[in-house]
């Protein structure tokens, strides 16, 4: 069964049609990359999948695990296993990272009818996941993303993903603003999550990240649609020729 099936998706933002008939099918176990120029609608697609208010679907369908995804609230989607690593993670003053992580994990467990973790269980789990991402205790005590560097914010997104163990991960330009060392840490964190049950969609502007997270399928997005799909070699072709050639092709 397809984990995610998007058909002829049209979506408006601020009264403007951004997605213009997008099709995409993702199976569990696959890693997809979506590449495309700025403004092509990549973030819009990720927000539509996560259920951001104001992103209005006007046509088409999105099915997740065989069911209509669009009728679910954002928190319901998250509990069902959808995770969006934000291109620009938000700062939440006054909410400690630890509190945030715990509230999120327990809320999802509660909704799924699973037992909540005890404090020691939770602490052990966070320490284990955070260690691999180079996130120290001090960072976890601070307010969510407040005063974090760009790289720390992105690593914090991956930590959340590792803790919540989603089925469908959407990473929106997780590589932007990272130096090569940080990029490797993040890629390693993502690779650890690759599994038969899980699908990952990596949205990126550059081929660089895909050297570290090698995708099964690469899509090219332009003007709110997938205009080409292929294997990892497509990413290299784009790197060599740029998006301009594609856009003329799509037009």
């Amino acid at each position: 069964m397809n984990l995610l099936e998007i058909k002829n998706l049209h979506a408006d933002v601020g009264g403007k049609e951004i997605l213009q008939g997008l099709d995409l099918t993702v199976k569990a176990g696959e890693v997809h990359a979506i590449m495309g120029p700025n403004g092509s609608g990549k973030s819009t697609l990720s927000y539509v999948l996560a259920g951001k208010p104001g992103y209005e679907v006007t046509q088409g369908s999105v099915r997740y695990e065989g069911k209509d995804l669009l009728e679910l609230a954002p928190d319901e989607r998250a509990a069902k296993g959808i995770f969006l690593a934000f291109q620009y993670p938000l700062e939440i003053p006054g909410v400690a990272t630890m509190t945030f992580l715990r509230t999120a994990l327990n809320a999802q467990k509660k909704r799924r009818g699973e037992a909540e973790l005890s404090t020691p269980e939770f602490l052990r789990l966070v320490r284990e996941k955070a260690g691999g991402l180079g996130i120290d205790q001090d960072m976890l005590k601070r307010a969510v993303n407040v005063g974090f560097s760009g790289g720390e914010k992105k690593r914090n997104e991956i930590l959340q993903m590792a803790l919540l163990e989603p089925k469908l991960c959407v990473l929106d330009e997780t590589d932007s603003g990272l130096d090569i060392d940080a990029l490797k840490i993040v890629a390693e964190g993502v690779n650890k999550l690759r599994s038969k049950e899980r699908a990952i969609i990596v949205i990126t502007h550059y081929q660089r990240l895909l050297n570290h997270i090698v995708p099964d399928i690469v899509h090219v997005m332009a003007k709110g649609k997938i205009v080409r799909s292929g294997g990892p070699e497509l990413a290299q072709e784009l790197e060599a020729c740029g998006y301009a050639a594609l856009e003329t092709e799509a037009a």
Partner: protein, 445 residues
Amino acid sequence: MNAEVRPIRTAAEQALAADYQSAKKRLPGGPAFARLREQALAAFVEGGLPHRRIEEWKYTDLRTLLREAAPLADPPDKATFARAKKFDPLPGVDVRRVTLINGSFVGELSDLVQPEAGLTILPLSRALAEGHALASRIGRLLPPYYDATLALNTAFVADGIVIGLAAGSKLARPIHVRHLFTGAAAAAAYARTLVVVGEGAIATVIESFEGPDGVAYQANTTAEMQLGDKAWLEYVRVQAEGDAAIHLATVLADIGAQAKLHTCSLTVGAAVSRQSVFLRCTGAGSETRLSGATLLRRKQHADTTLYVDHMTQGCSSREMFKSALDDESRGVFQGKIVVRPGAQKTDAKMMSAALLLGDAAEADNKPELEIYADDVVCGHGATAGALDENLLFYLRARGIPRKEAEALLIRAFIGEAMEAVPHEALREALLARAADWLAAREHAA
């Protein structure tokens, strides 16, 4: 005839004046205090209840809100003691407890035994009746303008608590003055707390106010605080009155040289409430920190009005008031900072922020600076707005349901106002009360 005298107009005003005439013989105090009462009543007869054309009461029209003067509350009957005993508004805080029910001191529910060295603590009724040395300090602090609620308190107050701390002494644990209202019928209760902190003495005093829902009682309370040089007072008040109550509070303080006054108020109760705070920095180099969190729902109305008077040089004051306003509630914040000529090197900053949770909620903010000195740093800021939808989405995208996500953000917003309370258990208890409010909101459909 004096043409300036405004005739008493409302039924409530007339009833209050009449009540005083029939009650005054029963009220405690010697001739000096009786004179204070008479003066206060005369001022009330002249000034009446404030209304919206009185600048300081612009948003809280007491003449309209206080349609009827409730009869003076009866002293509490013993049957209510057992219930009151179980009642702990701030669990987990080790305190010396004082209980006032319907404005009367209740010895059975108060712990005045074995006061630590330097502590004098006794019921206000006894202090007045016996002419105790501290009684002469009651009613000494006056606001810069006529204030009806304070005048009524001075006229009617029958009891309360008097706390004196000798120079250099330190309270071993906070004193918690619990104000409870009991009874099913509307009644008026007046109480007063006097806190005199001697030179270099250190104290934490908590006052809490509670009563039954659905009873339109009127609680009028005054706290007078006199801080000697280098004294340090932490003052915390929790207003959690019943949902039909009117709560009128006046807080007055004189702050000596290099003294520290830190206050934190949590307001969750009453249909209508007002706290008027009048502070005077009388000695050089003092430090004042005022903070407050107000959490309102339905048609609740809460007004915080501050007057901070920098009378002399080198004093700092910080005010931070936060309110979260749900449904159709209304939060009022008025803050005035006065820097007198010669009060050089004053450092004053005032901040108020309102979170509008309900579509029909309203926040009124009026900060004012009145500066007559040139070498000062003063500022104020006021904000009002809804919860950040982008932050809510971020939290929800992590699986946190909307109401819970809102609760996290509201808690973070108001938590800032309670962060500065140094007593850990007390701070936790305050946050727990705020959490109760949030939980109730989360579970309301």
